[in-house]
């Protein structure tokens, strides 16, 4: 974990019911946008965010982006609604389907299951940054060549997942492909093409 204040877990487990009521009463009276507040709860200082909007700063695709967000806003919704990065999709909204996959410090995560406020300080990479300008990345080109897409709604998540997987496994075995690309669902049934993308990569074939 990075040594970054914004990402330190809050010692929220010690908040008693009465303290929570006290916190709620405080926040109800404050203006709409507010930084975090430190309150005393169960004998400890606890940092409390929200429930109103708080300033959130994110490092997305190498750019510093900021917005005032309620702490309950997910990274996915922040990317899509605040910054118009609409490549990542919301499908299941609970970490089952992978359509919202982005990279957080280089690792694939389901952006629907990460709070924006918790993603502060991390390097966030979305599908939009994987294309090289107007040119497609080699993995994207392979998705086109092997027709690993139909309606295309799952495709950006799959491309992010496959890009990371192939970086980690440049010569994947069939078993590694089965395991490594099982975190995303497709409804049109493009898995055969996606498998072909990974197998072509394993065979050293460029699209």
């Amino acid at each position: 974990m990075k040594d970054d204040d914004a990402r330190k877990p809050e010692a929220a487990s010690g908040v008693s019911r009465r303290d929570f009521m006290k916190i709620s009463a405080v926040t109800a009276a404050v203006p709409l946008v507010l930084g975090s507040k430190v309150v005393e709860a169960a004998g400890e200082d606890v940092t409390v965010h929200g429930p109103g909007k708080v300033p959130v700063a994110l490092n997305v695709n190498g750019k510093k982006l900021s917005a005032d967000l309620e702490p309950r806003v997910t990274l996915l919704d922040a990317l899509r609604e605040q910054f118009d990065l609409t490549g990542a999709k919301r499908v299941c909204d609970r970490g089952a389907c992978g359509a919202c996959t982005v990279l957080l410090d280089g690792k694939p995560v389901y952006a629907c299951s990460v709070l924006a406020i918790d993603a502060q300080g991390a390097k966030i990479t979305t599908i939009e940054a994987l294309a090289e300008g107007d040119a497609l990345s080699p993995v994207m080109q392979a998705f086109v060549a092997h027709d690993a897409q139909q309606c295309g709604f799952c495709t950006p998540g799959f491309v992010v997942a496959a890009t990371h997987f192939l970086q980690q496994h440049p010569k994947p075995s069939a078993e590694e492909i089965r395991h490594g690309l099982s975190g995303n669902y497709c409804r049109c049934g493009t898995y055969d093409g996606i498998r072909a993308v990974a197998m072509a990569h394993a065979g050293g074939k460029q699209p």
């Binding site: 609409t86 086109v144 295309g152 995303n184 409804r187 055969d192």
Partner: protein, 788 residues
Amino acid sequence: MSQYSWPDPATRPLLGKSISRVDGPSKSSGRAKYTYDYNPQGLLAGKILRCPYAHARITSIDTGAAEKMPGVKAVVIIQKPGTEIFWAGDEIVGVAAVDEGTAEDALRAIKVEYEVLPHFVSDAEPPKNIAADTGPVSSEGFQDMEENQVPDEEVIARIEKTGISFKPEEKDYESMKGMGVDPSVIAALRKAKFVPAPATEKSPYKKTGLQTTGTPDKAFSSAAAVVEGVYGVPCIVHCCLESHGSASEWNGDKELVVHISTQNVSGIAAQMAEPLNVPAGNINVLQQNVGGGFGSKFSADRWDINTANLSKAAGGKPVKNLLDRRAEFEVAGMRPSAYARVKIAADKDGKLVAWDSRSWGTGGVGGGGTPPLPYIFEVPNQRKQNTAISTNQGSARAWRAPNHPQAAVITMGAIEDLAAKMNMDPLEFISRNLDIAGPRAQTYREELAIADEMMGWKKNWHQRGDKTPGNIKRGLGLSMHAWGGRGHNSDCDLTIHPDGSVEIKMGTQDLGTGARTIITIVAADTLGIPMSNVTLLYGNNRYPQSGGSGGSTTSGGVTSSTRRAAVDARDQLFAKVAPALKAKPEELEAVDATVRVKGDPNRSLAWKEACAKIGAMPLTVRGKNPDKEKPPDLTNSGVGGVQMADVSVDIETGIVRVNKMVAVQDCGLVVDVKTASSQVYGALIMGISYALYEEKILDPVSGRVLNPNLEFYRLAGLSDIGELQVHMMTGKGYDERGVIGLAEPPVVSPGASISNAVANAIGVRVPFLPLTPDRVLMALEDADGAHG
């Protein structure tokens, strides 16, 4: 007269080749925009409060607190107090707010009281001795028949026989037309006699009359082999990854722009006009990409009307509401269940002689579709009866090849069981019965031979029950299917600009099938230019109308209209260019991005130079399908396909794995081998998914869906699919039939072929899909009990 027919195989630079989809780069890079991605400045979030009960009456609604909340911009009641609600998740109140969180908070602040009424959600086998329903067709019953694509002749016969219990008005007929109801059916409705619905209609069961052909009793008693079995498929859900919904924005109170996730760009405005009280011509419907439809996205739904009403209430500001995943499972459509008790018989030569089926199933409140039983095989002696069960759940919608996958599971299962009883290879058994397999018998014969080769069927098939020691039992199964797929009505405008660029406008959509790609291929192939010269503008109802993408009708429709437009445009261009080349127009050809004299490549103009001869104004022509003035017919109806599955079953855990599937498919003239094959691969994968995992589970106590999410409603993942092989039938006997749609047929057979392969592996039939471990183990245990 221009030659509209599809070009000779020797002169097709692009048609029939394997070409990557034109929208591939925008999709794989995440740049493709969907309705869900529509995100203008000032967009409001729409949300809907839904009924938590499967059957209830609204007694009161209090939206006062919600309306006062900061950030809430509009609250619109959808169903008023006093309304009876028939399924959980039905729409009660809509809210628009500055963001989704605020809208959700507002929903929680709305107080709705209900009188909870008894619900019924079971599609278990109906009790015996229910009287057959001979009453008039109700409005819901009619809608149900249409949504399940019951053949027009059947619908008309029923309407003529029993009359109808509703009185459609002119606007209803208009809306039906927009939904694609056949004119012959509308004509039958106009002529139908009105019969009031019987007052005592409270039973959830509707039994059709007994249909008998030939002399089934006699045929069963003199048959060499008879088997009885039960087979079936539960309700499953479309699970479009992009959920249903739209964004609406008013310009004044008479002009509306709607971005909607739909399969029916040209048909939506007519459906929204009346509930919104605005002329259809004032509604602009837009969509660039759609994240799946599979039959469930033809209509402007009640939530879409609500979104437009919320926008109006919020002063015309854009409002977007795409359903959350739970609502998608509860209200946005499903495939009806179908189960049947079947008795089937053959003579000593393995020829089918008799069929008896008692089928049942549910498609929600309206009842359920009637599966076409027996499937494919016109068994000479038949007795059949179906009971539709009305249940308190969101209504069924067309799901790829409505009723066919269910009919295939039931019929092909019974045939496999009968072949097993006669110790016959089902491939041999089916081959002996192809004379009663309808008009595509010869296609099946050719396809079975190819599939046999691809699967190594004859080499690897064994009698029922894998006798090799150990837990893992392996087996083979097969199934076959039929579909129509004739091209729908389609208009397009094709323009050749004086600078050589070509533009097509068409009010169609691409569901990921490759529609956009094949339109571009046909235009470029006809004009002899690269595909990059052709721009396709679509997904807008202001463009020439094209039908909804359902029933595999798009490919035939859009390619036919494009071909006619491109031929006309090309020939008009020839007329302009001919003088410059000192030739007659009919002596010219358009190839390799040139217009030249046939057989004299020296008398040639580059495409761009040729187009400069058009003059100052672009050349625009309208292409149509159908078009009797411009023969021949470029599309056709009727395809056949064969699939085989190789599975392994662990008889200790009950887990089924698909080792391999092969699909051999006919679709007439294949425009693009790559996207056509992808459709078939996709259908196999979707088929593996519903064969092994998918089931919409309703709680009998609460009447709610227990698995309205993607953790507990399982879809197949990449690791579940095994090896897949696809063979498209092409060449003589197929090409000359014209373009036929492909989206439905290949999804019909996977359930049946996998179910048969499991029976072949473990020696007993697992009656119902999905073939989950518990069902497999139960079938094994039942068989043990019977023998021990």
